[in-house]
């Protein structure tokens, strides 16, 4: 798996795949996609990188350990659930900005929720896979 071509290619693929995953995440409300798929694609990008380089190298690239993403993601999702509650509305009421943003469309609490899902999925997948690959080494 340590072929130079793949190694070089994956270095370029990583940002592209990450960009793509964010694109998938953002368009999820209007077209096929969403937090789960986006998160999975992002994880695949990192897994590919870790295969060609090294798990340690990928971890360094990430700067934070992926397991830290799990509570962050859960927190973001929970926040989007409880913000309406602070405004006196039932929990999980959808809130939206009136003006659409170019490319993304309307921004609302559902998107924030999906962002949380995205982060959790990345955190979970990478924690599982990196832990296993480190254990195997």
């Amino acid at each position: 798996m340590k072929s130079t071509i793949l190694k070089t290619a994956s270095s370029y693929l990583l940002p592209i795949l990450l960009l793509f995953s964010i694109f998938i995440l953002l368009r999820g409300h209007y077209l096929p996609g969403g937090g789960f798929v986006g998160g999975l694609i992002a994880s695949i990008a990192f897994v590919l990188h870790s295969f060609t380089h090294d798990t340690e190298a990928t971890l360094q690239l990430l700067r934070i350990h992926p397991r830290a993403l799990i509570p962050v993601g859960l927190g973001v999702s929970a926040l989007s659930m409880f913000v309406p509650f602070l405004g006196g509305l039932p929990v999980m009421t959808g809130l939206w900005f009136d003006e659409p943003v170019p490319v993304i469309g309307l921004i609302g609490s559902a998107l924030v929720f999906d962002l949380g899902v995205y982060l959790v999925v990345i955190g979970v997948v990478l924690t599982v896979l990196f832990t296993i690959s480190q254990y195997s080494e």
């Binding site: 209007y30 077209l31 096929p32 789960f36 999925v121 979970v124 997948v125 599982v128 832990t131 296993i132 254990y135």
Partner: protein, 118 residues
């Protein structure tokens, strides 16, 4: 086409059950994965299958103007797929752990000696 689906589901279930009944732990895991796929496909089929009409509202429209595939089984299956990944990850790591401990893939090696009196 529904009949093809029915046959595929039968095959997936049969294969999954067969693998479940093996002594090897890895095969047990594969069996669980196959059963999961079979169940997903079953839900998908029972929700009614529609060709080329994803449950996405058109660009200009505000509501559906045409028939569309049932979104509920899809949402259910999407959840199921992701959860089954979590399950398999945990199960496979458990297997690895067991393998390191007993150095065997054989389920029968996991039996503890009988506790004589209860």
């Amino acid at each position: 086409m529904e009949l093809v689906f029915v046959i595929l589901i039968g095959v997936l279930y049969a294969g999954g059950i067969f693998m479940l009944l093996r002594r090897s732990m890895v095969r047990l895991l594969i069996g669980i994965a196959l059963l999961g796929n079979g169940a997903n496909l079953l839900i998908f089929l029972l929700g009614g299958i529609t060709k080329g009409k994803p449950p996405v509202i058109g660009d200009a429209a505000r509501v559906f103007t045409d028939i569309y595939a049932d979104p509920i089984p899809q949402a259910l299956i999407l959840t199921a797929i992701v959860i089954s990944f979590g399950l398999q990850a945990f199960a496979i790591v458990l297997l690895k752990r067991v393998y390191v401990l007993v150095n065997s893939d054989d389920l029968d090696d996991l039996n503890t000696p009988e506790e004589e009196d209860i």
